[in-house]
């Protein structure tokens, strides 16, 4: 059984607990274990990079050093945490001066960054480490053509890391097909959900959410699937505020991709945290079981 160090991040503790639960359950069904990173700290979100870059890298480096101590690759399910951890790892590996400076700080917590570990997004664990074909073989309860808008969002793909396709990725749609869902055309699938602007510039963020929901609805999606807790909260918990602001009538369930995967692997909805949504997903899902 392959084991990863798991960095849940602050969102998955409560507001996105269903992402946490469904990730752990779906991976267990695929013989992968997530071991929560011991005493992890906040990745710094975007705010830390607004104040001081070295401080921001220090926060991430502490988590990386703990994972290295456990000799495990680090997995983050939140795209924001993933981006921060990934790039700190890369910068410190390339910049010995920066690493030395930050290691001096890490010493105060009895830690050291060696640059031996890898950072993975949860999605990469599924589509690259396990593989879509393997998942297809394990599906016991295919989703019967459930129409899904597969939403990539930003930070899993951007900034660009190495040679990967950031213009027209297909892995999310392929994964949805493998579990028996039907990915619908969803042109803004790489557009931003507004991110933390939902707090700092509400009007702008609601307009961005509206564009995404509009496209999903036009393409008759029954569910919108996300890979990030911030996207989920913006698209779902603020749906009613979008409706109030623009006089729209959206009522689209927004689930984590791991919840759909879990269902296809035969895991009970309750164990995947289904039922904690603002817009209940149960009615559309019931038709496929």
């Amino acid at each position: 059984m392959k084991t990863y160090a798991y960095f849940p991040g602050c969102s998955l503790e409560i507001v996105a607990a269903s992402y946490d639960r469904s990730a752990v359950e779906a991976l267990r069904a695929l013989d992968v274990e997530l071991k929560e990173l011991d005493d992890w700290n906040c990745c710094g979100a975007t705010a830390y990079f607004h104040i001081d870059e070295i401080l921001a890298h220090t926060l991430c480096a502490r988590n990386l050093a703990i994972a290295e101590k456990q000799k495990l690759d680090l997995v983050a399910p939140c795209s924001g945490c993933y981006k921060n951890l990934y790039f700190t790892n890369e910068h410190l590996k390339k910049d010995a001066d920066l690493a030395e400076h930050i290691n001096f700080a890490l010493e105060a917590d009895d830690l050291h960054f060696f640059g031996k570990g890898r950072v993975r997004h949860l999605m990469e664990v599924f589509v690259e480490d396990i593989g879509v074909e393997e998942i297809r073989k394990r599906v016991t309860h295919p989703l019967g053509g459930l129409r899904v808008a597969a939403y990539y969002g930003c930070q899993l793909l951007r900034p660009r890391k190495d040679g990967e396709d950031v213009e027209s990725p297909t892995f999310f749609e392929e994964l949805m097909k493998a579990v028996g869902a039907e990915p619908v055309p969803f042109p803004p699938r790489l557009r931003c959900c507004g991110g933390s602007l939902i707090v700092t510039y509400r009007k702008g963020a609601l307009a961005m959410v509206r564009q995404l929901l509009e496209s999903a609805e036009e393409n008759k999606a029954q569910v919108l699937a996300t890979i990030c807790p911030l996207c989920q909260v913006n698209l779902e918990c603020y749906q009613s505020q979008v409706n109030e602001e623009f006089g729209t009538h959206f009522s689209l369930p927004v689930l984590y991709f791991t919840q759909l995967l879990g269902l296809a692997l035969g895991i009970a909805p309750k164990r995947l945290g289904i039922g904690a949504e603002f817009v209940p997903a149960e009615p559309v899902l019931a038709a496929f079981r």
Partner: protein, 187 residues
């Protein structure tokens, strides 16, 4: 000796870990604007901000809302034909404006970032409910009411934490941060 650095040089110096092309290479093609989901809300588009920096229009750039409305989606950075990290530049402007205390009044972003960072330095983890009251009032009663409703629904679904979470080794964590920012912490 000791000529003053231009604003462009100052901003470039803040891009510590950036591996992108220098912003002097901008050809003003506006690809960044066409990819930006927030450009329509900005006083000056990302393309214009780059031109204003090159023209040393420091006051006008810092007084704009543009860089605080950047959502850090990195679409501009991924698509720039010259390979400029435009989103990274927006981060640099945020840092510069906080450092010098020279951002536009009435924006929520600067205050939120400061409070957020202070919270993390104290406990090691984020607990957003403790930040909410400070800034939500700024949107007026209608949004406030909407947010109270959202919070209550989250609570009823068991999705709102009642108590802040914190890391176990808080003391060594703070000692670690003090080695990076030794005096007084964050402004």
């Amino acid at each position: 000796m000791g000529a003053r650095p231009s604003f462009q040089q100052e901003v470039s110096n803040l891009l510590y870990a950036s591996e992108s092309t220098p912003m002097q290479c901008c050809i003003q093609c506006a690809t960044c604007v066409s990819t930006c989901p927030a450009a329509e809300f900005m006083d000056a588009s990302p393309r214009r901000i780059i031109a204003m920096i090159a023209a040393d229009m420091k006051d006008a750039v810092l007084a704009s809302n543009s860089y605080w409305y950047c959502a850090s989606c990195y679409h501009c950075s991924a698509k720039c034909p010259r390979g400029i990290d435009v989103a990274g530049m927006m981060y640099a402007l945020k840092r510069y404006s906080l450092w010098k205390g020279r951002h536009r009044e009435g924006l929520i972003g600067p205050d939120f970032s400061r409070r957020f960072v202070k919270m993390i330095m104290k406990t090691g983890r984020a607990y957003e409910p403790s930040l909410a009251p400070a800034f939500l009032g700024k949107y007026g009663w209608r949004v406030l009411l909407g947010d109270v409703k959202t919070a209550l629904r989250l609570l009823s679904k068991g999705r709102l934490p009642l108590l802040p979470s914190r890391i176990k080794r808080v003391r060594p964590f703070r000692r670690m941060l003090a080695r990076i920012i030794p005096l007084g912490g964050v402004a």
